[in-house]
């Protein structure tokens, strides 16, 4: 004769099944272990306590294996940010190249994207900035571009080009200061915290951290 499971036992069973769904795929056999072990807990209340603990274990395991960039919105935001940084770092060089090639149409369009909507005020700066500094800017832009593609392709090493991009950005920003001061051009008249610190440095560094921390973990649903 089979005895019917009590509501407490049924609840415990449901909780352990829920834990099995939550636990990362790479730890699937542990979920099975918790589920099977429940059959050996004779007392129903004890079984419920056991199952509740399994739910906690499953959530803790999921958190430990969580790769932030596996969350679609976070990854999308990371891709947009890396692409924006690539655009920002190559913008000055693209503008200078257009100026040197006398591409006035392109100059006008790019001028609209600058504070003051006019490229002409940047002419002294474009003439003062040396080629090696453009080289650094392009290198930083290339790093961000590579990072963008790697983030799209879910490559876990994306933090490497990102970190290199941030380092090159900081170095470039330091090295360009004397040139900007020498010509007396105010590049951004009233820089906001967002445009001066958060977007070029803090957010990319957070992205580096998110990509790096996740690169050391096994995928949640492997």
């Amino acid at each position: 004769m089979t005895t019917r499971a009590t509501p407490t036992r049924r609840l415990a069973d449901s909780l352990v099944r829920y834990a099995a769904r939550v636990i990362p795929g790479v730890l699937g056999h542990w979920a099975q272990a918790m589920q099977n072990e429940l059959a050996y807990v004779a007392d129903d209340r004890e079984a419920l306590r056991w199952a509740t603990g399994c739910v906690g274990s499953a959530h803790a395991a999921r958190l430990r294996h969580l790769y932030l960039l596996d969350i679609p919105t976070v990854r999308a935001a990371g891709i947009v940010l890396a692409a924006f940084c690539a655009f920002q770092m190559t913008f000055a060089t693209a503008m200078t190249a257009s100026y040197r090639l006398h591409a006035l149409g392109a100059m006008d369009v790019m001028g609209w994207m600058t504070p003051g909507d006019d490229y002409r005020r940047f002419i002294p700066l474009m003439e003062a900035i040396p080629a090696w500094l453009h080289g650094l800017l392009l290198a930083a832009g290339a790093c961000y571009l590579v990072a963008t593609f790697w983030l799209v392709g879910r490559r876990r090493a994306a933090y490497l080009p990102l970190l290199l991009g941030v380092i090159l950005t900081l170095v470039t920003r330091l090295l360009e200061r004397p040139f900007i001061a020498a010509v007396g051009v105010v590049v951004v008249p009233n820089p906001s915290l967002l445009s001066a610190v958060l977007l070029p440095i803090v957010f990319p560094l957070l992205l580096v951290f998110a990509a790096w921390s996740g690169s050391r973990r096994e995928p949640v649903d492997a």
């Binding site: 730890l27 056999h29 542990w30 099975q32 272990a33 918790m34 589920q35 099977n36 072990e37 059959a39 050996y40 807990v41 306590r49 056991w50 199952a51 509740t52 603990g53 399994c54 739910v55 906690g56 274990s57 803790a60 395991a61």
Partner: protein, 104 residues
């Protein structure tokens, strides 16, 4: 290189329990009863120890036909060494604490 095990009291308890019968295969519920640790504390420790190569896992068929197979655990050779070191370390700490209290 495998990370060293967490030195928390709970991890020491689990290692000590496994060390007591290091040749035997142990089960989650038995370990939980012996160490007085709930499953929510026990399993993360077991998962971590297994990941660090200190714990061997195996599926053992049940002696009762209607019951599912059990996941069994025992310390690996390096697990035994680590557990012994931790147990000795804990004994030494307890001894030095007792000595310092007695001399006060």
């Amino acid at each position: 290189m495998a990370r060293p095990p967490n030195r928390s009291v709970q991890t020491r308890l689990v290692l000590a329990a496994l060390l007591e019968q290091s040749a035997e295969w142990r089960h989650g519920y038995d370990l939980s009863k012996q160490t007085d640790l709930p499953s929510g504390t026990l399993y993360p420790i077991l998962i971590r120890l297994a990941g660090q190569g200190l714990l061997e896992e195996s599926w053992a068929p049940s002696e009762t036909p209607s019951r599912p197979p059990r996941h069994s655990y025992r310390l690996t050779a390096s697990g035994v060494t680590t557990a012994r070191e931790l147990v000795l370390e804990e004994r030494a700490t307890t001894r030095s604490l007792r000595t310092s209290r007695a001399t006060r």
